[in-house]
Structures are given as C-alpha cells and as structure tokens.
Symmetry: C2
Subunit: 362 residues, 2 copies
C-alpha cells in the first residue's frame, strides 16, 4: 500500500483521516437503534447535499447500481424515453434503460460537447416521453451539462428527469428541488471522500407516482422497499454498516464547512488546474464553457503518448492521473480534482506535470 | 460506538484487527496494476474457500445482490424452476426468480425443518426443470440443508443448482466442485469477518452455457461482464476498493489457519452453544439433526418475552443476540457464532444468558 500516493483521478478520491478512522471502527448490528440513528442522520445529511426535501435512499452498491435503481423503479418495458448522452456515462444510463426494455431514443453529442439543448427541446416537444435521461457531470469528457435548462424542458414535456449526478454531487451545485429534478443519483467515492460502495438516489413525489405503475423488474434495487425500511430505521437487505459510519463522518465534515464553501473550493481548484494546464501549453479537451469543476481533460503534446505521461507521473511523482475511456482511449488525459482536493495538491500535480512534459520532450 | 460490544448475531460479525487496519488504509485506483493483483489474489482465496476451480466473481453489493445475480444471469422469464424454501432466505431466493418472471414451483418446509429431499426428488423427476433453487444454511431457522443430496437430485434431473450459501460459506463445508454445485453465492459479513458490502458468486461451465440463452435483464449484476473485466484485473463498475483490501486480509487469516481448521472451530463453538442452551433448560428450535454450525435458534422459557432477553443481554452484558424474523417473530431467539468466534466468546454469551434468564424469572 502506497501511503503517499496522491490520487488525482475522478474517483475514488483520497480519504480524510476522519473517514479512515470511521472505517476502522468495530462492527455494529444493522437492525438496532444505533443503526436507525445512523441512517436517519446520513439521510438528512445527504438531503442537505442534494438540496432536496425529497426522499433519499441509500443503497449498498456503487454508482451504476444507483443508476439501475433510478431507471427500473420508474419505467416499464416499452416506455418511450429520451437518452441524452455526452460521453461514456450518458451511454451507460441509456443502455440500462434499453437492457430493461425501454424504447430509447438517443441524442448523442460529440465527446467534449455538452447536451444540445435546442435539439432536446425540439425532440421532447415533437413526441410523448415518459422520461428524459441525462448526466449532470460527464466524468469521461469533463463536461458539466446545463441541467437546469434540460430539466425545464422535461417538465414542459411532462417527462420525468432521471439524472446521473454521481461525479458532480457535492463538488458542484446540484439544486435538486430548485431545478425540479425527479430522480437524482450520486455515489460515495467522489466529493464525499469515501471508498466506493454506496449509491444515493433522491425521488420526487412525481417519480413515486410513476413508480406505482412501473413494471421493470427490480429486487435488490427496489426503492419502495428501501423507503418502507427507512421508516423503521433499516434497509431491506444488509447495508454496508462500516461505510454508513464513514458517510456520517464525511457528511459532518461537509456540513461543518458549509456546502457553498465546498463548491467554492472545488471551483477554485478547477480554475487552478485549467489555468495551469493552459500555461503548460496543453490544449484543453472539450468546450471550456461547460468545463467541469471536478475533472479536467486535456490533450497531450503532439507525438507524446498519454500512457507515458500517466506512467511518469505515477513512477516519478507518486501521483495517479488517468486517460480517456472508450473510443477516445489514447486521445486525452484527465486529472480529477474533487473530494479532499486543495490548492497545495493542485500545485503539486501541476509542477509534476511540468517536469513530466519536459522529460517527455527530451 | 461501542468498542466492547460482543456481536453474536448471524452477520454482520465482529472484525479482527487485521481487517480493521486494512479498512483504514489510504484509497487506491481501481484500474491499476495494484488493483489487478489484489483482485486476482482475492479471487484465488475465494476459490479456496468455495472449494472450487469454477469462475468466481466479486460484486460490490450485499448478499441479496449476489442472489439476484445468481438468478438473472442463468434464467429466462417463463423458465420452470423449483424453489426449495426452509425459511426466510429460501423465500427470498424464489421471490427473486418470480420477480424476474420465472415460473416458480415451491416446496416449502415448516420453519425448523430441512428440505424434504424425497419430495424434491419426486417433484424433479415428475417434470422438466431449468434450475433447483435452495439455501445451504438457512439463517432464519438455524438449519443446514442436505446440500449434497439436493445437488445430486438436480443433476439427475438435468437442472442447474443455484445455491444461497451466504451465511454458511467459510464457517461450514460447502464443497462446490465435489458436490457439483453450479452457482453458489456468499457474502462478506459472515465467516469472512468483514463488513457487509461484497457478494461472491461461483459459476460452473454448465451455468455459463445456460447464461448464453438466459434473457432475464441484468446490468449492474451482469456476471459475463464481470468475468470479461476480471480477465483484465478489473471490475465492470467501480468496486469497493477498501473492502477488497480487507477481503485480502481476511482470506490471508483463513488460509494461514487452513479452512478445515476454521470449519472445526465453528463446529466446536456451535456444540458449546447448543449444549449450553440445553443445560439452561431451553428448548432448541428446529430439527437438531440439521442444526447449523453458524447460528443456533432456541425458544425462550414459557411466559418470557424474547425481546426482554435480547434487551437485557444488550444492556446488562453488552452482547447482541437477535430474535426470529417474519411469521415467527417473537417465537424464538438466535445466537450467531461465526467469523471471529472462539470458546471464550461462547462461554461469555452462555454465562450472560444464564444471568439473564435468572433475572427474567424473578
């Protein structure tokens, strides 16, 4: 185990000492008054993070499990849904809907571009739609979508919004209630500074209504059962108790700082990284007007293999950054800056990148 | 947090110091050579535990998620399956198959009885079956089923065996290959002495063949994708990295002791608990010939509320035991004895129970 590794990928992130201490605590029973108190406090803390008074359910699974819950609890096979994809995770959300039998129409942006709001609006207006599926922050391309606009269009069309906010939640504003988002998914290993293993799903009244007639099969990810159990201070199936304890520790840190300050720190660090990358003469990947505050993508210098940069950063500087996924593998690099991120870490990664580029050119 | 609480429920169990230390380690990247080494070692360790050379997949979910994977990857809607239930978890396995559209025929034993092997044999022989579903160790009733006999009957009938071994795996012999079990599910929070949050599924060649034509929808729990990713030292979706690190620590402890010795320790502790409970004049619940070596169920003395016993054990002795579930709520008590269990803990719980019964009678 590498104690000093600086993890600069878009999740999992580094863990604060409070979280590591919480993870190491003795085990507890999961059908006890102690656990009931714990889950109630975690739920309230997550509602604060999500900016919502909607129901908030915690699942023992990583983010993709939460995405599956967000689809299968509210849709039926054959339902017409519009899947707006701007990268790898947008593809995944639509693919889940297809796997469970939805009639999916796709609007795909080129990687690096945000959702085409006009096209989404025209398409929604021209048909009848059960739901609009989209990603809030697309980790694979470092693009944050215009969520508020997309949500307004969906509401106008009478469609549910099912939103993957896994990588953005906590690090960037996701104003669930103000923007009228029906189903929002987040995960533990991003701005919450926890190991992967918990997914969070918020559910509006309108979504619960849709759930009544939704026939896609679900068992482990049945949110209605999760809600019924939560009312008794429990989960339907054994929860990852240790990760709940750590979640409470993380939420306490965030609440103590204030969510607006956490967003501000992420925005400042993102700006430092973006400016630094530009100063090193590297071309940003993607539309900068929609640049994400939790991850930055940029192209390697002409003729330099991104893998060599990642390897040198790891071996020489003990810093973990990552490359591009899917069809763009080998085309750009990504630095994650979320969770425990601070100015010092940003400067450390930029200095290391500068040395790495020099080494690559010689 | 209660440092000295003795957890004597059938999972989650107490955590050894090696596991707690592992959980607190710094985070790692999940698409790195380090993780590839980790998952390879964990997979080999689990194959040792499962007594199998079959493929072994690790899912970030608790046991019920593994049960869902064990059903949806190998069956299609309409498939005739025989669900043998001897308690709450047998009901759950069959209910998952029903939820995803299988044509389920039930054989249910009275709680406290094992599977009716003769009836299962006659029923299998009288029809055509895609799979036989059953529980290896039924946590809710403290019964271990005659797994080898059930498996032989299923093979004779050409049916796959889909086996929930969540609570028994590691604490009792589950001889996957010797008994010809096709799909076997286990979980992290039982004899493996870990927090909940990982599920393990072994898959035989015959089961993979069935998987080729199985049409139940699955995405997060897609085992074929898990197998393809494992070949690259990864998982399809972000794994609970910290729990993998702890899993390795736990498997190292078990391998160092030898699995036969771990089984023997569980059997000895179970005998101490069963004898002790009898010595206190308490009636065992269920057929003793099939008594589980990881959990013991027994009836409270006439006129004594099980809740009062559980409460007194907790408040006076700092020991967590539990009651009965479902339709049997209030009818019996359960003591879990698995994972870190030793003679000293067994004697502590029996002494506390003796005092508790005295207090209840006065």
């Amino acid at each position: 185990m590498n104690e000093d590794l600086l993890i600069m990928i878009p999740g999992p992130t580094g863990l604060p000492p409070e979280v590591r201490e919480a993870l190491a605590r003795p085990q507890m029973g999961h059908r006890t008054p102690e656990f009931a108190e714990l889950i109630a406090d975690c739920t309230a803390g997550l509602q604060y993070l999500f900016r919502t008074t909607n129901d908030l359910l915690i699942l023992t699974a990583s983010g993709t499990g939460g995405m599956e819950a967000a689809v299968t609890n509210f849709l039926s096979p054959g339902d017409p849904v519009l899947a707006v994809s701007v990268g790898n995770f947008g593809e995944r959300l639509g693919a889940i809907a297809e796997t469970f039998g939805a009639d999916v129409t796709w609007i795909k942006s080129e990687w690096g571009e945000p959702a085409d709001v006009d096209l989404v609006g025209r398409t929604l207006a021209a048909g009848t739609w059960k739901a609009l599926l989209f990603t809030q922050n697309e980790t694979s391309t470092s693009i944050t979508n215009p969520v508020e606009e997309l949500s307004a269009l969906a509401r106008q069309a009478g469609a549910l919004t099912i939103v993957d906010a896994i990588s953005g939640m906590g690090g960037t504003p996701v104003l669930t209630d103000e923007w009228g988002l029906d189903v929002v998914v987040a995960g533990s290993q991003k701005a919450l500074m926890l190991p992967p293993g918990l997914a969070f799903v918020s559910v509006s009244e309108k979504a619960w209504l849709a759930s009544e007639t939704a026939t896609m099969p679900r068992f482990y990810f049945d949110l209605k059962k999760a809600k019924a159990s939560l009312e008794k201070g429990q989960t339907p199936y054994t929860p990852n108790t240790s990760l709940f304890v750590a979640l409470q520790a993380s939420l306490n840190l965030i609440r103590a700082k204030g969510i607006e300050n956490v967003w501000r720190r992420h925005a400042e660090c993102a700006q430092i990284i973006r400016d630094g990358v530009a100063r090193l003469g590297l071309k940003p990947f993607g539309d900068r007007r929609y640049a994400s505050n939790v991850v930055t993508a940029f192209c390697p210098p002409e003729g330099v293999d991104p893998k060599a940069i990642i390897g040198h950063m790891r071996e020489k500087h003990n810093i973990l950054i990552t490359g591009a996924q899917g069809a763009y593998r080998g085309r750009f690099l990504r630095i994650g800056h979320l969770g425990t991120i601070d100015r010092g870490q940003c400067e450390r990664v930029l200095a290391a990148l500068e040395e790495t580029l020099k080494a690559a050119r010689t």
